[in-house]
Subunit: 240 residues, 2 copies
DNA sequence: CGTTGACTTGAACGATATCAAACAGGGTGG
DNA sequence: CCACCCTGTTTGATATCGTTCAAGTCAACG
């Protein structure tokens, strides 16, 4: 038990994850049912429409939630980073597919045991609820992007969103706050699936921003934002 | 008090709204803080980014939630029908704009009083939570539509969605289950804002379905679905 | 009737998709 | 160490779908 406590005390995402709201002894109870899981990229966590057997906090790495049409067209409907919660309490199965994008470190909880704790621990469900409201806000933000933004605006918004998330979980490669530098967790194909575009269009927009000196690339995954002002302007208002 | 109970007992949406989960005496407490509000179309319920002062159940009518870009481009990010809940418990303000689309009958609750009840009534927050998970599912379903479906598929999906909602709240005009007939609550402009298209494209797609004998129109708002099979096929797979 | 606003229809244009080829980096086997 | 793929990415040419701009229709209403 003391050991469990210790584990959570040293957890990198402890204060930002849903468990952050818990009291010390409650954390211990949660910790007692926690199991750690390390997954390589491309691992399926949840099949579309399948039953879920566990919940999880993401300790590190990135997970994508996707939906697919009959003919194979795919859309990423959610991107989860360190400290995000995976799973739908009190729901039997998932309406989407969840898959690791990078190496992922999960802190998992058996479904039944977790739901029992949620009922027993005062305020825990409240925290999960508020977390879901945040997810809903992000989803709706993304609906605006998907329905109304141009390709250039979409890519700019995406880069900024990733930059912010990477920053907040301390994964930035650089230390100049004005010129963030980070590794893109997604491939071009995945970015396209997230933005409702094709690979080629994503690539062209990124190339254009490179030519325009808004960003710089090292290899294909490491991005530096050179001109934050213009990137933010490009997010809502495509220049001609 | 008895009067309040009575009011809820005869409520059209009582069993499907979030209050449907409550015990008899709990309904009475909720009823005690309820106020009814009748609004004409085009009335703003919530300003983007403004503070919310009340929650509400929709008793009848349709409400749209929208987000707008700096230059005026708009996206409907949620469409709420009778029995849907409006508001974000324990959040100070709203990240989107809510506006009536038709005549709307609301059953409203003061924010503070409602939140107190949520804390006091066992299982009430749970119900609100599950309701929010449903909203999240719808939002993600719509992300797939916005990002990956063609104009024709979008319009077909929209008609089917409205048909289903109208049916479930008993607003269908016809009684043949194979050939639903109903009034569109949205104008062409609103449909366009919901689907991420222009008015003209929406109009053309509807005209095409009319020529193809998949639907029939009376005036501009009343729709009959003539061929449910083909409408459902058109939803996911655009014919050439 | 004439006006207004919502909708439809048509023609031209443009953004993004599609198709196709070239390119780059990283691993493998020789 | 190099030749060879393999996969992901970039770039180019063309096609297509949906937008834009512009009329035209229609019903409601003064």
């Amino acid at each position: 038990m003391a050991e469990h406590l210790l584990r959570c005390d040293s957890c990198a995402v402890r204060h930002r994850a849903v468990c952050g709201a818990l009291e010390r002894d409650e954390v211990a109870r949660l910790s007692a049912i926690a199991h750690h899981k390390l997954l390589p990229p491309g691992q399926v966590i949840l099949h579309d429409n399948a039953e879920m057997h566990y919940f999880a906090n993401i300790v590190s790495g990135v997970v994508k939630l996707t939906k697919t049409l009959a003919d194979g067209r795919q859309q990423i409907v959610g991107l989860q980073f360190a400290s995000d919660f995976l799973g739908r309490p009190f729901r039997a199965n998932s309406p989407y597919h969840a898959e690791t994008v990078t190496d992922v470190h999960l802190c998992t909880y058996d479904k039944g045991q977790f739901e029992r704790l949620v009922k027993e621990i005062e305020g825990f469900e409240h925290r999960l609820f508020q977390n879901t409201l945040d997810e809903l806000d992000s989803a709706r933000e993304w609906m605006l992007l998907l329905g109304r933004k141009s390709a250039g605006e979409k890519v700019a918004s995406f880069l900024l969103m990733v930059a912010r998330r990477m920053e907040s979980i301390g994964c930035k490669v650089s230390d100049d706050p004005e010129r963030p530098r980070f590794n893109l967790p997604l491939s071009r194909a995945e970015i396209a699936d997230f933005l409702g575009l094709t690979i080629e269009t994503v690539s062209r927009q990124i190339s254009r921003m490179k030519v325009d000196k808004i960003i710089a690339l090292e290899g294909t995954r490491t991005i530096s934002i050179l001109d934050m002002q213009r990137l933010m302007a490009a997010m809502e208002q495509e220049r001609d």
